[in-house]
Amino acid sequence: MTRDPRAFFALDIGAATASATLVARLAGRWRLLGTLALPAAVGSAVVRRQLVERLIHADPGMAAAIGADPEALDRIPTVTVRSGTPRRLAVVAASERSLAPLRRVAVQTGWAVTSGSAATLDPLAMSRMLLDPGVDAVLAGAGDPPGADERGALPELGALVAAVAERRPDLTIILAGALTDELARFGDVGARPGEVLLGAAASATTDGHGLAELITELALPADDSRRAAISGLATLADLTARRVEYVEIGYDSGVRAIADPTLGRDEPVVQSAIIVDAALVPPEPDDAVLDHVLRWSTLQLDRHRLRDRLRELRITPWADAAGDGAALRLAAARAALGRLLEATDGMDRGVQPDLVVAGGGAWAVAPGPIITLAMADVLRRPGATQYAFDHARLLGPLGSIADHDERRAVMSDLADDLLIPLGSVVTPAGLRSGRSAGRLVVHSESGDTEIDLVPGALELVDLAPGQTAVADFRFRDSVRLGGKGRQFEVEVAGGLGGLLVDLRDVPLRLPERHDRRREQLETWQAALWAGLDR
């Protein structure tokens, strides 16, 4: 940013959506003045101009004070992050055993991945895979030292990859583990346009941290919105002194990150993964994707029709967003969230986050309470968690501010505007089925609310954004809610969805029959979806 600006645009330009937010310095602190998201195809200049025109219409004085002029948009500094089509990495190894950790690292670092080992692909099929023009880079790896099952195949694998590198000099090649010994086969690597890089071995125990950093750098440019959002999350965790989890479902990928506050340490502790297969709708929705979406769908569609609708959603992500289209998006988003959790299994290490932030275009037009329900449907964690939504897609642009102190100052000022509070979800686990599991009394400023806790039910307590309350749970039998016990006092915060007491099974059990499952999902959804036409 320029020195001492009065306002700036925060732009997040994705493959499907261009989002612009106007942030201005008013009364000595940064405030969010407006935000607008439109199909990416219209271009960010149109989005910025619309935003400025609306500001001028709403408050000409303020617009003049910050120098907002639709004819001189470039006078206002911009902080821009982008995300685009994922790059494709072909991962090869000598054996299936050594392929698995390499593939896991590749899948978690924002690459679209194709893979195969010498044990399952003959050299012709492997050459075909690596020479595919859609492949941008090749990761060829082995254990270090190599295992007995891969030792014999390494020289031939090295020769094959070196020949591919010669035929496609533009291809980036990463050699990992013991396969780095084959470097001599690649000749003068400095003379070719594509890099040949050497990385550490990925093993099932270490997750190949050094290798992950290397291939993340190759997968995503420095101004990538997802990388920036992860930096923004670390600052947010530090500012709030809370463990914060970010889950983004976007057009081309899903992101999951968990950040802990530094609490005096030098570096924030952040774990993150960018999963291409967790995109809202993959380019070619296969049967597994279809099954996942069908599980969450409230629409009366057969498999073929559902696949058609998913293809349409992929082709025109902004179209058909109301009515049935909204329900389809939510089903696809839940399915994508499920894929994201599956691919990042074990990331939370059993420690519940204090705050979960939802992001990405999948939730862009969904009503707030429904976002909370969708997350609660899939995350299924016993305990109490607060939920919020990065409604203006600010986490990325603000996370891209290079100067840590400046980023922290801007995010601190914007703390009240940055996230929309969706509410709190309390999920006890281990409830015994029966008519009543106990009583809940919510003590808030507006009075006490008493609720009978019926196993399998979803109970909603009105708690406006900004309000806090104490939820006093008294169960008949011992349950898990953070710890194990029968009495719990939980401090909860309000939001668009208020307080959601989720007494359903952990994990969630849905009826097998589609019609009954749909009816069940609709019933849960109807309780939180204002304006739902049934």
Partner: protein, 358 residues
């Protein structure tokens, strides 16, 4: 529009925006200077040379159906490199009285291994002929050939089968559908524009009758899957039919072909066009053909229950509430049946050639 009734009266800022047409994504009717990629696999034999000018029907390569992996030795005097063709210089020795020349099998060098080379070679070659004229910009054995097309291209979302070439014929109205009974052998050699949707049975029959290609607005997933399976079976057969391709213009659901696209296709009727896969497009080399600029306020519902409807832009309305309480940017559009409020995200508009991307 059905399923998208406005609930709120005015935009939050108190009035209807008088303009705002630029909120609607612009779709270009034609693209110029398009680079077309023809995919090759290891073992395929390249014939075209980089930098050469190709005309329609010129053979670019030979694609092999049943490539296998073999091993060979290359004399040390040869400077062999991966991707090069290799033909044994010495014919295998034949015994007996046969006068037929011995078959010399060769292939593409994949990588050096031990004292020789791994080779990809095949028996049954299919010619890959240029469906378009142009300049060969890139040749990469085993990867692909890129040709800068001499003509212009109308983009689709996917092209299956192909590449192919034929005379364009409008076989159904923009919102119509072609059934198998509507096909006859007189259509052999044509590329048919078949309207809103087509089924796999019609596609299979069209291919069998010598039709070269189909252009359609929507191809449902089931029909797509069935046809791909049928095409795979046909490709495996010994007797091959001429190349056949399906160009899908919009998506998987039934909808009319866009008016401006219909205008272009009507202008091209009776002329030779090609369907190519990468990018999926209908390519035509007609320098004298003037493509009319669509009216600037013409908008089309791209997707959703009213997909395919066209109308005139009236005004941007700002955020409005639609079915299921979903709040979206809205616009007023005048359709033939009267004005309606439509989410802006459902709309698209057209221009002849798109302005430079941001």
């Amino acid at each position: 529009m059905g399923g998208a009734r406005p609930v709120s009266g005015l935009a939050p800022n108190g009035h209807a925006h008088g303009h705002g047409l630029d909120l609607v994504p612009l779709r270009s009717l034609v693209e110029e200077a398009v680079d077309i990629r023809f995919a090759l696999a290891p073992g395929d034999r390249v014939i075209a040379e980089e930098g050469s000018v190709v005309t329609v029907g010129v053979q670019l390569a030979e694609r092999f159906r049943d490539t296998v992996l073999a091993a060979t030795t290359v004399p040390e005097s040869e400077d062999a490199r991966p991707g090069e063709r290799w033909t044994p210089t010495d014919a295998p020795v034949r015994r007996g009285p046969s006068r037929r020349p011995a078959r010399r099998t060769g292939g593409e060098l994949l990588f050096p291994w031990r004292d020789g080379w791994r080779v990809a070679s095949g028996e049954h070659a299919d010619p890959l002929e240029a469906p378009i004229g142009g300049i060969v910009r890139e040749v990469r054995p085993g990867v692909g050939i890129v040709v800068r097309a001499a003509g212009r291209a109308l983009r689709g979302i996917v092209a299956l089968g192909g590449p192919t070439r034929g005379r364009l014929k409008l076989a159904a109205g923009p919102s119509g559908e072609l059934r198998p009974g509507g096909l006859d052998v007189g259509l052999a050699g044509t590329i048919l524009v078949v309207g809103a949707r087509v089924d796999a049975e019609t596609l299979t029959r069209a291919r069998a009758m010598g039709v070269r290609g189909i252009v359609v607005a929507g191809l449902p997933s089931k029909e797509r899957r069935d046809w791909i399976a049928s095409e795979a079976r046909q490709k495996a057969a010994l007797h091959r039919l001429p190349p056949f391709a399906v160009l899908v213009l919009d998506g998987a659901l039934r909808r009319s072909i866009a008016g401006p696209v219909v205008g272009l296709l009507e202008a091209l009727e009776g002329r030779e066009v090609a369907i190519v896969n990468d990018p999926p497009a209908l390519v035509f080399d007609e320098p004298d053909l003037d493509v009319a600029d669509p009216p600037p306020d013409l908008v089309r519902v791209r997707s959703g229950p009213d997909a395919g409807r066209e109308g005139r832009w009236v005004a941007s309305l700002g955020p409005r509430r639609f079915a299921h309480g979903i709040q979206l940017e809205a616009a007023q559009v005048r359709f033939a049946e009267g004005p309606a409020v439509v989410p802006v995200g459902d709309l698209e508009r057209f221009c002849v050639v798109s302005p430079r991307a941001e």
